[in-house]
Structures are given as structure tokens and as C-alpha cells.
């Protein structure tokens, strides 16, 4: 009986196949910077960087070890005096625009910005024509 209980507990404790490391997180993965102003800068940036292991989360939201290592990079670089946009550029140079949640106008993203402007222009043109015509009719009738 006792053996059975022990076996059941052993089964419950069984660790699934290793999929992640067991190393402690990087120093600044879960520790904030002392200076609240710098920490605010880092936090704002981390909220707009994509976690590469869990691609729908920002590195601020993710508990993946790699996201922790990325937070460490962000905080140590902020502490060393780098600007947030400089750090973002550093990551984009390594992973492409994909790593940033902050959209920028580039060769592949310009249609995203151009299409709404184009649509507004078309709507404005149609409205002007219609309203203008109306007014023309009215003045013609008067």
C-alpha cells in the first residue's frame, strides 16, 4: 500500500522531457533598474519588442528564458546610456522589423500607411463630386 502511494507520488513528480534550461535568469531579467526614470524607459521599450520564442507576446509579457535575456540586454544597455530607439535599431539589425511592435515605414510596410491615405483621398474626391454636383443642380434649379 505504502509502495503504491509512493509510486503514485513519484509519477506525479515526474518531470516532463527537458524543453528548457535550468539556469538562473540573467541579472536584469526580473530585476528593475534602480533609477525609476531609466526603468520607465526600459519598460516602455520592452513592451514594444517581440519575444522571439513566443511570438505573440512582448518581451515584457513573456517568461521565456530568451525573453528574460532580451530584457537583460535592454536594461543593461539603457543603464549604459543607450537610447531606447538605438537599442530597437540594434535588434532590428539582427532580427528585422519583425522584432519590433512599433511599426515604421519601410520598403515592405509603406502600403499599410499609403492605402488609408489613398482611401480617404478617394472618398473625399467622390464626396466632393457628389456634393458639388448637388449644389450645381440646386443652383441650376434656382
Amino acid at each position: 500500500m505504502i509502495r503504491a502511494i509512493v509510486l503514485i507520488f513519484a509519477a506525479l513528480l515526474a518531470v516532463p522531457a527537458l524543453a528548457q534550461d535550468t539556469m538562473p535568469p540573467a541579472p536584469y531579467a526580473y530585476n528593475q533598474l534602480e533609477d525609476p526614470r531609466l526603468e520607465a524607459e526600459a519598460a516602455a521599450l520592452m513592451g514594444t519588442l517581440r519575444c522571439l520564442k513566443c511570438q505573440s507576446q512582448s518581451i515584457a509579457d513573456s517568461d521565456a528564458p530568451m525573453a528574460g535575456d532580451m530584457r537583460h540586454q535592454v536594461r543593461t544597455r539603457i543603464l549604459a546610456g543607450e537610447s531606447p530607439e538605438h537599442i530597437r535599431a540594434w535588434l532590428i539589425a539582427r532580427y528585422g522589423d519583425y522584432v519590433s511592435y512599433n511599426p515604421t515605414i519601410s520598403a515592405s510596410t509603406w502600403p499599410l500607411f499609403a492605402v488609408p491615405v489613398l482611401l480617404i483621398l478617394i472618398v473625399a474626391a467622390v464626396l466632393l463630386r457628389r456634393l458639388g454636383k448637388h449644389r450645381g443642380d440646386e443652383s441650376g434649379a434656382a
Binding site: A19, D21, A26, L52, M66, D69, Q73, R94
Partner: protein, 176 residues
């Protein structure tokens, strides 16, 4: 009549977009994030040995003479076990492979190499993924071809399967 046809345009547009969305749903999603560092010089780094058996790895170990492979791996990574025989095959063909062990413990590195073979000339320990981030790698395993001038020439994402070996050898040849 022309006006009537024009009315169908929004519906056609909607059908087109719905069609594209439907088609994309059936496509396999590519989760790989490619490095943007291909064609760029390997960033400077110097890592301590990952265990006592082999020296650590620095940028200077990957530059000069011939192209080499830079293998990003970890003892806790299951696909790394799958690619171990292919790394050994590459090494047997005279390819120098420098390893970087991500977030790994010396004893785990040692026991992995005893169990699955050691194709590496040196292994650096990257405890906080700093070199991994610096070269635009987003997971383990990944393998980079570094040419003699220290320029990153090619990236293989995921484990190296037997069918990938000729391609990697060709990339190494191209990097000469």
C-alpha cells in the same frame, strides 16, 4: 448597366479577401525568424569554456584560414540530440565546428558530449544568450557558416538532418 456592375465590386473584393484568408489558414505557418545578420561581419565576443574539456570560444577563433561552422546548441535541447550524428559527419569531412552552448551547465554539457559525441573544436558558454542575440539567432539549434574573413554567410535554422549535410558543405565551399 455600367452602374449595376460597379455595385458588385465591394462583394468581389470581400470574396477575394475571404478567399485569401481561407487559403492562408490552410498554409503551414513559418515560425522561423531569420537572422538579418547574413552578409554582416560576426560581432565581437569572447566566451568562457562551456566545460573543462574544451577551450571557450571567441570571434578570433572563427576568423582566418577557412570557413567554419558556428553551432548554437544546448544540452537541454532535444533537436540537438537529433543533429549530433550530422555534426559528427561534417566534422569527419574536415569541417571545423565551433559550438556555443546556450544557458547550459558544465556537467550537462559534458554528459551530453559523452552520450551523443563531440564534434566541436571549442565550445563557449553563453549563459545569458548575449552572443545568440548579437548574431540574430532566435533558438536552438541553429548553425551559421562563417567565412575566413569572419563574415556570416549562411544560417541553418533547426536541427541538421542527413539531407541538409550536402547543402551545408556546399555553403562552406561557397564561403571559401
Amino acid at each position: 448597366m455600367r452602374g449595376r456592375l460597379f455595385l458588385w465590386v465591394p462583394l468581389a473584393l470581400f470574396a477575394f479577401i475571404a478567399g485569401v484568408a481561407g487559403y492562408m489558414l490552410t498554409q503551414e505557418k513559418d515560425e522561423f525568424v531569420e537572422s538579418a545578420m547574413i552578409g554582416q561581419p560576426l560581432p565581437d565576443f569572447a566566451l568562457k569554456p562551456a566545460f573543462v574539456g574544451l577551450p571557450g570560444a571567441a570571434r578570433s577563433d572563427l576568423v582566418g584560414g577557412k570557413p567554419r561552422l558556428l553551432n548554437i546548441w544546448a544540452s537541454w535541447c532535444l533537436p540537438c540530440i537529433a543533429e549530433a550524428p550530422q555534426l559528427e559527419a561534417l566534422q569527419a569531412q574536415g569541417v571545423e565546428i565551433v559550438g556555443i552552448a546556450i544557458r547550459d551547465r558544465p556537467e550537462d554539457v559534458a554528459s551530453f558530449l559523452t552520450r551523443y559525441g563531440n564534434p566541436y573544436s571549442r565550445i563557449g558558454a553563453d549563459d545569458i544568450s548575449e552572443v545568440q542575440l548579437a548574431i540574430g539567432s532566435s533558438g536552438v539549434p541553429e548553425t551559421f557558416v562563417i567565412d575566413a574573413a569572419g563574415v556570416i554567410r549562411y544560417q541553418h535554422i533547426g536541427d541538421i538532418r542527413p539531407e541538409h549535410v550536402p547543402g551545408l558543405l556546399a555553403e562552406l565551399e561557397k564561403a571559401k
